[in-house]
Symmetry: C2
């Protein structure tokens, strides 16, 4: 621990004693009024409130926390994505979180490992006694065992874990993918390829499952040569799309597991001199704003990102308050957004 701290503007703020004196009551009564807890005669309440406003009194949260051993801050482990899409995803997610956390005057404390082993990081933050719960977006990471063992409630966003202990909230990736592919099938497509996402994480796995299930249940064969191994990022999708366009019989449609990959695919398709949707229909996933900026606008599967953030925050608070027990597994519905990148095949 270091010394680089600032002396606080000492004596500047009135304390609970000042308010009590001003209102001619005890500090206990002031505390009751401030916390809106316990019974106080109306006249006294008014006096206290007046004194509070006259003195511009604000409670000292450190003192309150120390005395009460209560917490209401939410820790947030921020993933710091490198790409625009990830940044956008996280900002959208945070909007949902914001809308439930800030009106309650709860605090969001940003947490991030600082050149330290993850175990140490978790040990450190879990010991911050004023953090009542943790929200995490882990990407492909597992839930750290130290966190799992702790008695702090936490919820993992945008992931699905089988482990019944882990609270998590995600979107219906499997169904979203299923519906997208089914849409292509209904348009008459028979040779439908896919570029799937990273299979290290649930969304990647589930979107591929959805693709396969849609084909299967509609009596279409699952062909390995039509399944390209992606990782959610543009570059690889570009390369894989080029390969998909080298097979003997071209696919007439491609389900691409992220809009970012769709961008790469579009590039590849154009370089091959083909046109969307005339030669190839494509369909993405995420509904990133970029979809509407391309020619043609990309049909995609919308995820309710900020809704997921909102729900996660609500559940987090309920967990902290003990109004909700663990083992939460939520899945939010996706929605197919039809634009101009798919065409019917006769």
């Amino acid at each position: 621990m270091m010394r680089n701290k600032l002396k606080h503007r000492k004596g500047k703020f009135p304390s609970i004693d000042d308010v009590a004196r001003e209102a001619h009551v005890s500090i206990a009564t002031v505390s009751r009024v401030i916390n809106n807890f316990g019974s106080v005669k109306d006249a006294n309440r008014v006096n206290v409130l007046e004194a509070v406003s006259k003195l511009n009194y604000k409670p000292n949260i450190s003192a309150s926390r120390l005395a009460s051993n209560k917490v209401n801050s939410i820790g947030l482990i921020w993933p710091f994505y490198d790409d625009m899409f990830g940044s956008y995803f996280f900002t959208e997610l945070m909007k949902g979180v914001r809308d439930v956390v800030f009106p309650e005057h709860r605090e969001l404390i940003l947490l991030y490992p600082a050149n330290e082993p993850l175990d140490e990081f978790y040990r450190r933050i879990l010991n911050k006694t004023y953090i009542g719960g943790l929200m995490l977006e882990l990407g492909a990471q597992k839930v750290n065992p130290i966190l799992k063992k702790s008695d702090i409630p936490y919820i993992v966003v945008n992931a699905r874990y089988e482990d019944p202990e882990i609270n998590c909230i995600s979107v219906s990736n499997r169904r979203g993918a299923y519906e997208a592919v089914e849409y292509l099938i209904k348009l008459g497509h028979k040779k439908i390829a896919t570029i799937h996402g990273s299979l290290n994480i649930q969304p990647g796995i589930e979107r591929l499952e959805g693709y396969k299930a849609a084909l299967k249940e509609n009596g279409l064969p699952i062909k390995e040569e039509l399944i390209a191994d992606g990782n959610f990022y543009r570059k690889i999708a570009y390369e894989k799309m080029l390969k998909l366009l080298e097979v003997d019989e071209l696919p007439t449609a491609v389900f691409i597991a992220s809009d970012e990959m769709a961008l790469g695919a579009v590039k590849a398709i154009r370089e091959k001199g083909l046109e969307i949707p005339r030669d190839v229909s494509i369909i993405g996933f995420d509904d990133n704003p970029i979809c509407t900026e391309l020619f043609p606008q990309i049909t995609t599967v919308r995820q309710p990102i900020s809704e997921m953030g909102r729900l996660a925050a609500e559940l987090m608070i309920k967990l902290m308050e003990g109004k909700e027990k663990g083992g939460i597994k939520k899945s939010l519905d996706t929605e197919l957004v039809i634009r101009d990148s798919c065409r019917p095949i006769s």
Copy 2:
């Protein structure tokens, strides 16, 4: 204030007394060791450290803050941009902040007005006694007078204010624009249009100034019909670009005050059946990753975003520590990134 708090895992953590007992010293000595302040015999220091690790002791920050009246948390007012570019900008900015704040084990506390007047918001957060300083990204907002009057140090990022009291850090928008336009001039362009950003904020104003200065100092006329009024967003740039392409004598080059607007402009140019850079050279600003994804790749002016975040955080900490006085005005250099969207004119 509400009651929705959680009883803390009471008694779970060892306190400074436990450590003192274990190490056979007083709590004062433990405190000295923990804070690495004051003199302690080596033998005792070792004992204390061993006790700390044996008991897995972590100091209670609330108690520490209450006793010391010291703070080391940094409040952060997050703009929550709506678009991908803004999200990306902010994430990049935060990477710089992260790299200096977290290794010091300082905390970043997210702040945001909750359906409340801004004055009330600032009054509320400025009274949080554990927040030692504030970093803000204000967009087009002014610095709130309540914040200005407070004695909490703060720094505004990505903006430049004349007011000598306001600490701020920004990039050399004027010079960046100047260099971009000068580059076009050197390529032989004479009819250079611009789509400028919002003139409500400094970057908008300065990039326009840079454009004009470059023309002027190179003996080129400043023509109003070549100056289009933008707002940094795509849509308006699309519309303005269409108009710019309707004048009698087409501009051969356009300096566009943001890459996001460049996207809109590209769309407009293509719709008119023109090609970049054959018919029109364009140059953007920001160096958003999308620049390299377009055909052709867009020449642009790179801003050192995360560098700005890093510097802002460093200055913030120095301000909090009293190692730096107020009145900070920093400007970071931009850099012209030449790609494929400009061509020489003979």
